[in-house]
Each structure stands twice: as structure tokens, then as C-alpha cells.
Symmetry: C2
Subunit: 308 residues, 2 copies
Amino acid sequence: MKPKTADIVKDAIRELDYHPNFLGRTLRRLETMKILVLAPTISNQFYSRIIKGIQSVAEEEGYHIMLAVTNARRDAELEYIEMLQRKLVDGIIFLHSTLSAEELSEFAASWPMVLANEIVKDAEIPLVTIDNQKAAYEATRFLIDNGHRTVALASAGDLYYSSTLRRQGYIDALSESGIPYDPNLVTNEGFSFNAGRRSAEQIMQWSKLPDAVFAVADSVAIGMTSVFHQNGIEVGKDISIIGFDNNQIAEYYIPSITTVSQPQLDIGQKAMELLMNKLEDLSCENRHIVLPHRIEIRTSVKLSKSET
Amino acid sequence: MKPKTADIVKDAIRELDYHPNFLGRTLRRLETMKILVLAPTISNQFYSRIIKGIQSVAEEEGYHIMLAVTNARRDAELEYIEMLQRKLVDGIIFLHSTLSAEELSEFAASWPMVLANEIVKDAEIPLVTIDNQKAAYEATRFLIDNGHRTVALASAGDLYYSSTLRRQGYIDALSESGIPYDPNLVTNEGFSFNAGRRSAEQIMQWSKLPDAVFAVADSVAIGMTSVFHQNGIEVGKDISIIGFDNNQIAEYYIPSITTVSQPQLDIGQKAMELLMNKLEDLSCENRHIVLPHRIEIRTSVKLSKSET
């Protein structure tokens, strides 16, 4: 820029009442040192642990994290993506996306983006996830292997892709054990405490209580347990429930909740690492990381005598 | 701006590879339609309910919310305030601040800001809070009025101003009832589940179990209850615990937690309304709103026979 032009720009800026630091710094280098994390909700403690993981890596690298809650709405998501396009942030980590694989792939080709937790099938974008289908298969197998024959599913329907995969894993385990899949044993209320409460209320209307329930989230397992308890049904004795996520409250609930443990901090850390790679070189390969899960045995599932 | 100057600015901008929408829109009107919410942590469900309240009003007004977690660090807080000064966001709602009253007053004189939840004494800034001291007084009175004589306090020390006020309310209630304040009956572990667990472990070392505990947060009450349960001490029978906040989990925990209910959604809504006033007219008065609390009676506190 020639000196004269620079002066005129500066005058124009002054006239427009711009904060000088803002333009000064942004003109010098087009980095904001800010990362945007998009989450569909933050009422679930699950998300705050992932965000903690993101933050731990971001801080080491001098980045600040900002979180936006999309409520899984496409218009909100696009509005936040525009912030990246306007260079108000340097990159985005999606903990969930409403966009199609094609749309995400196109955005990710031009801007630093990473998908973590809730994936979008076939999107060409770096991603971090667990194997939801396999984890759900193992959770259901765990119930069956402990002698539970009628196993219900407290599902979130197809609200997120992970719920679809978890239902598939549940069906896989039944099928492998020669138990026919019965859609009447499935509730579709969502991921919250209240979703769990509604599921338990439905189940209590059934002609017979199932032996066990695979709940697609700890919040659902806890909501169910509280309703069963209020109705004199003791979880871990009269009925077994396995959850998913391993939130802190699953450990501290009474009874403590047997659950599929997701490596929440690790999901966040790896997501931020993948984003760092993209910030350094947008053309680097789109790595897909699948992190390990494990069954955390506590007291909400009654174990058969052979087990232990 | 003269046409010629405008052209030169545009050329300079093009040369600098600015995204045109960004400058175009920002030059037209200096509004971003983004509000920044600063929270010290989001691991507590309490914050997510306040944020939900903020969001409900913001959405009606066409604003998007971004959340930043400061971990109660001053440098992080100042970094985010700079975003407002650079006009990357239109306003800030602090759910906690590390700044002094003088600093906050000075910032708030120049920029649209509101303090909600955790207040800073004497700051000249719009604020929304509950009467923490009175609420703690009532919680402690509730325990005493139900026949509990040795009442411990599971505190967070002076971590936040609210914890200081809650301890003062606890002392007020003891004093009014002629019970001497005994610092040996106070733990200072913080606001988390694990803080509650550590508090319970300490209390079990005491020569005699107290009749009741006032815990400064539901998370603390729940952490304590889980440890007591593991050690065969039944909360609501062998010992009473009252919490603070009325998070959803307090209702769904077993036993359900008697607690001081804070109007979390309302705190968020009012905070956003006060911010809207400042966005329209920065010189409008700094309103201080104190919202009502109430005791939510559940099963973690044993009631004396006269009660009921």
C-alpha cells in the first residue's frame, strides 16, 4: 500500500469511528486467535467436558474458545459459519451439524473446520468420534450376557446420527443373540432427563416390565431411574438400565449408573489438534479419528451370577 | 466520505483480501447482532439454564449469543472485553467478573454491559441477582426450624462473592437462633460435585456427624450425598442436606434434594432485557434487579413433626 493511500484509509477509518486496535491488528495479520465451537445444546454435561478438552489444547496454542448454541437449527449454524467467512474467528469445531455431507465438504475445503462427536456421514472434513454402533452393540450385549432377555431401548429416534447408529448397534446385538427386534420395546423421547422420565412413564404402561433398558444417554438413564424409584421400582434390582456417555453424575447418582464411557476430554483435545493442523495448512489430509469407548460397570445393571 | 476516497478504501480493502460481506455490512452499520456471555465455567447445569434465558430474549430481538468460558481468569476476561471494544460483538453479559467495581463501572460507562448472577459490589452497571445472603439465611433457618441444632456449612470459601454472602446468611441465621458460629463446622471446597465429595469425607472425620448441612450449591449437596450413601449414611434420615440453585438434577436425584430455588431462566431473560436497554441508549439508568428465590422442599432434609 502506498503511504498516501494508507493515510486516506486511516482518515476514512477515523471518520467511521472504528476502534483503531481492531483494524490495526486485523490488517497486520488476518488471525483472530479465536475458535468457534458449535454445539446443539449445552444442558448436557457431556458437551461441557468436550469443550474443556478443546480448551486445554487451545490455551496452550494461544487460542480463545467461543461457544455458540445452535439448537440444531440450520439458520443459526449458517449464521455462525458466516463469522468464519468474515474472518471474525479462525476456525470452527462442530459438535453437531445440520448440514449435508456435500455442504460440509465444500465449506471445509475453503475454511478450517473439524467435526467432533456427532459426525456427518461421508463428509470430507477432519473428524473425531467413537464407534457409536459398536458401543451400543456392546452395551446391549452386556445386558444380554447378564441374563436379561427382554431388553428395551430408550432412544432419541433419529434426532442425531449417533442415535440412529446406537439403535442399529442395539438391533445388531439382539439379532446376534437370536432375539427378534420388537419396535414396541423402543421409546423415542430424546436425550434429556425429561426424555428419560417420559420413557419410563411409557414403559410402566407396558403389559410387562422389560428386564433391562439400554438408554442412549446417561441423562435418559437418570430420568428413567428417578421415575421408576418414585413408583417403587428399584433400578439394579427390579429392572436394569445401562446409560451412555459416562457423565460425572452417572458415577455419583444413587444407584450409580453402569454406562458406555466416552473419552470426552480426549474427543475435545483431538478435535482441537486436528483444527490446528488445518490452521497451519488447509490442504492437509482430512484425518478421521475413532477413539475407544469402554463399559463402566456400576450398580444400575443387575449382573448374572456367572459374571464377577 | 467523498466518492474518490471511498474508491481508494475499496481498492485497499480488495488488496488486503478482506471478505467483502464483512466490511460491507460492518461499514454500513456498526452492529454485529452478536452478544457475548462470559461465564467462569459451564460444567454446572446452573449456567446453561441462565444462558437459555438469555437466548430466549436474544432470539426474539434477532441477536445471536456467543459464550466464552473465562475460568475466572482476569486475562481471559480482558481479552473478551477487547472484542467488544473492537466492535466484534455488540454487548457483554457477565455471569461473573474478576474486575473491580471501579474497572467495571468505567467499562460499563463506555460499552453496553450487564452483570448477572454473580455481582460485583458497588459497580455502576445494570445487574440482575437474587439476595444471596437472605436466601442462605432462610435455608439455614429452615434447617434450624426443623429441629437441626448442629448445622454445618459446605462452602466455597470466598471463591465468588455469592459464597461470601451465603456464609454471611448462614451466620445470621445461627446468630438469630442463639447458636454460636463454629468455623470448625465449615468446609471450603468449592462448587462442584467433587467439592461436595471432599466436604463429606472431611465431615466423616469429625468426632460427631452434624444434624444437617447447608451446601452452597446443588452439585455440592449431591457430591456429599453420594459419599454419605457409599458409607451407609442416609441423607434425609441420618443427616439432612439443603442445597442451592434448584438444578434439574436436584429434583431427579435419589433422594431428591431440598434446595433454594434460583429463577435461572428469569435471571437470563432480565439480563438480556437490561442489555437491550443499554444497546438502545447507553446513558440509560443502571437498573439493579433482585429476583425472588424460594425454598423447594423435597426429601433430603428431615422435617420435624410440627412441620407438615
